[in-house]
């Protein structure tokens, strides 16, 4: 009998070991994911990065990868430390419907009535519409004493400020139907992004907003930094408003300004002209497809004579009489005269960013650029430019050599 009992102990023991081995084995067979603790945020000086870098940084924060679509196709949901794709939809074939989608839906996917077609816009476009809605106004009234969690009063102007506000104060405006249940559509399920657990820095939030604004590829829409500064009324990167005096906010400290001593390519780099324009002689400015080719030596004299410009001149809208005045006017007040075939897309705050000397230098440089130089570098006008493509002259090897040396 005693022997039999011992047999049972070993049998039961074997049974236990078998069960435990199966359980442990199964867990080892499942996909192994290790969740690393987030690294401390990297301090980035926003003044020194280009909008593209900012956008890439935003992409990395949102998706944790530079190729989110690739990850998506592999069946993974790319999620970075911002955790945004857990709730927001960024791609058509991504599944996330907890929070408002951040892409433009095709009309047939929009089931609910959507009079303003908000769902069919990109988030960037939406950001210009939402703050104008009555719903936003009602939030503004209700939260006029400040939103309890963040202490922010909703006061975003359309555009980037709206996006910035949504990150710092998700409750300041909740898209209808996406609030936490039972809160009368008032409280957002989204965490405050600059606080734990997501805890992005200001710069990181600006980069995320830049990503949202420039998803279409139009870098000129990336106004996140400006919007941020306008929204909070302080410079990005300053710890507290009180610290301004000590830091000495002299223009020299801000590399976003075009200064007297800057060379034309420095100015082009700082102002981001290359995002829209092709400019002969500037290495980075070879890709812009938004604005006209800047060969003002050829263009400017013709443009002031053009009937469109004469008409505007007579109406008193524009005032340039010389090519240089025309170029300076185009930089300072670009909305006054739009070159035929283009939209009013150019940034409008250059008047605050150029010193007089810098503007003069830049205009001189642009006026030296002519059709010949552009042809040598293989640049051509955009199809919509009225003047038509540049006439190509036969180029000898020596000319090519010259162009390369340039």
């Amino acid at each position: 009998m005693e022997k039999k009992k011992k047999g049972i102990i070993s049998k039961v023991g074997m049974w236990y070991l078998l069960i435990l081995a199966i359980f442990a084995g199964y867990t080892n067979w499942l996909p192994q994911i290790r969740g690393d603790a987030p690294e401390a945020a990297v301090a980035v000086d926003v003044g020194t990065v280009t909008p593209e870098q900012l956008k890439e940084m935003g992409q990395k924060i949102i998706f944790g990868t530079d190729d989110p679509e690739g990850a998506l196709r592999k069946g993974e949901t790319p999620i970075g430390k911002g955790s945004c794709p857990l709730c927001h939809r960024f791609f058509m074939d991504q599944k996330a419907d907890r929070c408002p989608n951040l892409i433009a839906l095709p009309a047939e996917q929009v089931s609910s009535p959507d009079p303003e077609k908000l769902l069919q816009m990109t988030e960037e476009e939406r950001s210009y519409k939402r703050p104008l809605t009555e719903r936003y106004q009602s939030f503004k009234e209700k939260l006029s004493g400040g939103e309890p969690n963040s202490g922010i009063k909703p006061h975003a102007t359309p555009g980037g400020q709206y996006l910035v506000e949504s990150e710092y104060c998700p409750n300041c405006f909740v898209v209808a139907g996406f609030a936490i249940k039972g809160t009368n559509d008032m409280v957002s399920p989204m965490p405050i992004i600059n606080k734990p657990p997501i805890e992005l820095t200001d710069t990181e939030i600006v980069s995320v907003v830049t990503f949202l604004q420039t998803r279409s590829g139009d870098m000129s829409k990336g106004t996140a930094k400006e919007s941020w500064e306008a929204y909070f009324g302080k410079k990005l990167g300053e710890a507290a408003p009180g610290a301004v005096a000590a830091g000495g906010a002299a223009p020299s400290a801000d590399s976003k300004l075009a200064l007297d001593t800057d060379t034309p390519d420095q100015i082009v780099g700082k102002m981001g002209c290359f995002a829209c324009h092709k400019i002969p002689g500037i290495a980075v400015a070879k890709i812009g497809m938004v604005g006209p080719l800047l060969i003002e030596g050829t263009n400017a004299p013709n443009r002031i004579k053009s009937p469109e410009y004469r008409k505007a001149f007579k109406e008193g809208k524009v005032h340039a009489t010389t090519p240089k005045e025309y170029v300076m006017e185009s930089i300072m007040t670009p909305w006054l005269f739009i070159v035929p075939g283009f939209q009013d897309d150019m940034l409008k705050d250059f008047s605050k960013k150029f010193t007089f000397a810098a503007l003069s230098n830049m205009a001189d440089y642009l006026l030296q650029q002519t059709a010949d130089k552009a042809i040598k570098e293989g640049l051509d006008r955009l199809p919509q430019e009225k003047e038509g493509p540049l006439k190509k002259t036969a180029m000898g090897n020596s000319d090519k050599q010259l162009a390369m040396n340039n």
Binding site: I19, A24, N28, R34, G35, G75, R98, P148
Partner: protein
């Protein structure tokens, strides 16, 4: 004194007396809480003495409070952490915690059973049955007593581990919960005292009915103290997961109640009480199953068969509401931080949840299997045997759905063959609608199985039996139809509406549980018996199923604890105190599975030791019983267990 005793002997008065005694104990119970309130009242006064009063906002309640403590320290490695060689400090702490928790749960769960069993025994009219239940309760208690001292030892070990490996973190936690920790220690002493009086006074207090009622009151007291103990321990981990009562720098705001009453504490406590009870039932059932297998005489076999059934039944009683308590906890987690909920269900820990789903499926299927095999010892159960395979079919289909992952693991070639990351057919089973339906069907089937078990050896005699059966059938069919219909309907509506569907689904299941079982019991009132349950004839497979059930309980507890703890990610105290040690990452699931298995193995090995100790004393008891008592459970035909 003696006259008082005599006065109390009358049956009416003895209850009054017992009630009085109970109230006295209850008042005594509140005594240790005095320091808490004293501190709470002290706080503003103490800080108002100092001229600088800084106010800050509660991180959860958003109320203003006076800053009372220092901010949470920003920990640095290795300054604020200790190590033992190259071992992962966290794993050591994890194991120490888990072992303490296992024994603690067991020690807390067993008195709950004992209380119920003792009460049932006292309410029995049949003397023999009464004695039988009383002995059972006594035997449970005996097992728990050794485990109690092991719990205390492990608790000490845990505190030392904390102090040695995570001193910075532990000090901060202690600074906030200082008054509560003192109360905790006091309660522990009280628990020990009550426990020893309760256990060693068992036979003495069996003599008079009044003393017996006092004994039961002691049991109530024991459980109350135990629950308060557990509540305090739970408040600390609930605070770690979702802090309140401090400002966003971790400064204590003086109100200890806010720090105790954190957003998640109530659901966690409820979930844990149910979980503990289920776990305790499983452990005792496994113990009884082992004794059943090892038993030498038919009487012994019958006794342990009955004991394993009773313990299993009590465990299961708590298991069935457990998923719903879990659902509630998840809802609260989502309400607290949606991100935390998503990390759990769809993010980093999603695969751990698949493992947890596997465990739940294992538990329910094993349970059904045990009931099926257990019906083999009931005459008349043949009438139902042929339905078992259909129930199995339903369970398996539901399990297949339940365990279909949302994200499939595959090679590029398979991805290509499938034509995309989502399978057009299987993909439908990976979503929440299908999962909710599956688990509700599994639970409903289990309830049905239990109803069949109830009536296996009985024929209803009430006049309205036919109508009753019809109604019972309607309840089950209706619940299943409703659950499945809502599940399918969920595919056609947007996600935010879909979430709301789980409530009516759960309601259908709960209807079968409460109304169905009640109705079934009413139908079976005064039912004609087709023969008594042949206790002792449980099949060996049934015993092994009980072992599996117990291990699955233990393992589920481990994996759930792992999930709950790791959802804090790299925080010691969520959003207040960062884990700066090199072990702030979240382990992959395989590692967690290995540690869990190891923990379960250690626990069961230690339990084996406890059981072995039990058999040592048992031998003595047995011999005395044989010598002195002519009528024990021996020589008596085994009565029917009622359920």
């Amino acid at each position: 004194m003696r006259s008082l005793m005599r006065w109390l002997q009358s049956p009416k008065r003895k209850r009054v007396g017992a009630f009085l005694a109970l109230s006295l104990f209850a008042v005594a119970l509140l005594l240790p809480l005095v320091p808490v309130f004293a501190v709470a009242e002290d706080t503003p006064a103490a800080s108002s003495d100092t001229p600088k009063i800084e106010k800050a906002k509660d991180v959860f309640y958003k109320t203003e409070g006076i800053v009372y403590g220092p901010p949470a320290p920003k920990l640095k490695y290795p300054d604020n952490y200790g190590t033992y060689g190259t071992f992962q400090s966290r794993t050591i702490l994890w194991m120490a915690n888990q072992q303490h928790l296992y024994f603690g749960s067991f020690v807390l769960a067993v008195p709950m059973f004992v209380m119920v069993v003792e009460l049932v025994g006292m309410l029995q009219k049949d003397k023999r049955m009464s004695k039988k239940y009383d002995d059972l309760a006594h035997e449970f208690m005996k097992i728990s007593l050794t485990a109690y001292s092991i719990t205390a030892i492990l608790g000490g070990l845990l505190i030392f581990t904390f102090l040695a490996l995570y001193p910075g973190f532990f000090m901060y936690l202690a600074s906030i919960f200082r008054p509560v920790m003192h109360v905790y220690a006091l309660m522990f002493i009280l628990e020990s005292g009550v426990l020893y009086v309760y256990y060693y006074g068992w036979d003495k207090m069996n003599d008079s009915p009044f003393l017996k009622w006092c004994h039961l009151s002691l049991s109530v007291l024991l459980n109350t103290v135990g629950l308060v103990l557990m509540f305090f321990a739970n408040t600390w981990l609930a605070f770690m997961q979702a802090p309140a009562g401090v400002d966003d720098q971790g400064r204590f705001l003086g109100n200890i109640w806010n720090a105790i009453h954190t957003p998640l504490v109530i659901p966690i406590v409820v979930h844990r009480i149910l979980g503990n009870a289920a776990f305790g039932g499983g452990v005792v059932a496994a113990y009884a199953a082992y004794r059943f297998l090892a038993a030498k005489s038919p009487e012994e076999k019958a006794h342990y068969d009955w004991m394993s059934y009773t313990a299993m039944f009590m465990g299961v009683l708590n298991l069935i509401p457990l998923p719903f308590a879990g659902y509630w906890l998840m809802r609260e987690v989502y309400a607290y931080r949606q991100q935390m909920g998503i990390t759990l269900m769809g993010g980093l820990l999603a695969w751990v949840f698949i493992m947890q789903a596997t465990m739940i499926a294992t538990l329910f299927i094993t349970l059904n299997y045990y009931l099926w095999t257990a019906m083999g010892r009931m005459p008349g159960s043949e009438r139902y045997t042929r339905f078992f395979k259909y129930m199995l079919l339903v369970l398996i289909v539901a399990t297949l759905t339940w365990l279909t992952p949302h994200t499939l693991v595959m090679t590029p070639a398979e991805l290509k063959a499938m034509g995309g990351a989502q399978h057009p057919v299987i993909g439908n089973y990976g979503v929440m609608s299908a999962k909710n339906t599956a688990i509700n069907i599994i639970i409903t089937t289990t309830v049905l199985c239990f109803c069949i078990y109830q009536r296996a050896n009985k024929v209803p005699t009430v006049k309205w039996a036919w109508w009753g059966n019809l109604a019972l059938g309607a309840i089950f069919v209706g619940a299943a139809t409703n659950v499945i219909f809502l599940g399918i309907y969920g595919y056609f509506i947007p996600a935010n509406v879909r979430i709301g569907l789980s409530v009516p689904q759960v309601c259908s299941t709960l209807t079968t549980l409460f109304i169905g079982v009640t109705l079934n019991t009413m139908i079976l009132k005064n039912a004609r018996s087709l023969g008594e349950i042949r206790w002792g004839q449980m099949s060996t497979r049934g015993a092994y199923a009980l072992f599996l059930l117990a291990v699955a309980f233990t393992w589920t507890m481990a994996v759930m604890g792992y999930i709950r703890s790791s959802v804090r990610l790299h925080w010691h105290i969520n959003e207040i105190m960062r884990d700066a040690s090199p072990w702030a990452f979240t382990n992959p699931i395989g590692y967690a599975g290995n540690i869990n298995s190891l923990n379960v193995l250690i626990f069961w090995t230690m339990l084996l030791f406890v059981f072995w100790l039990g058999t040592l004393t048992d031998k003595k008891v047995h011999s005395t019983v044989k010598d002195t008592a002519g009528e024990g459970i021996e020589g008596v035909s085994i009565p029917v267990g009622s359920h």
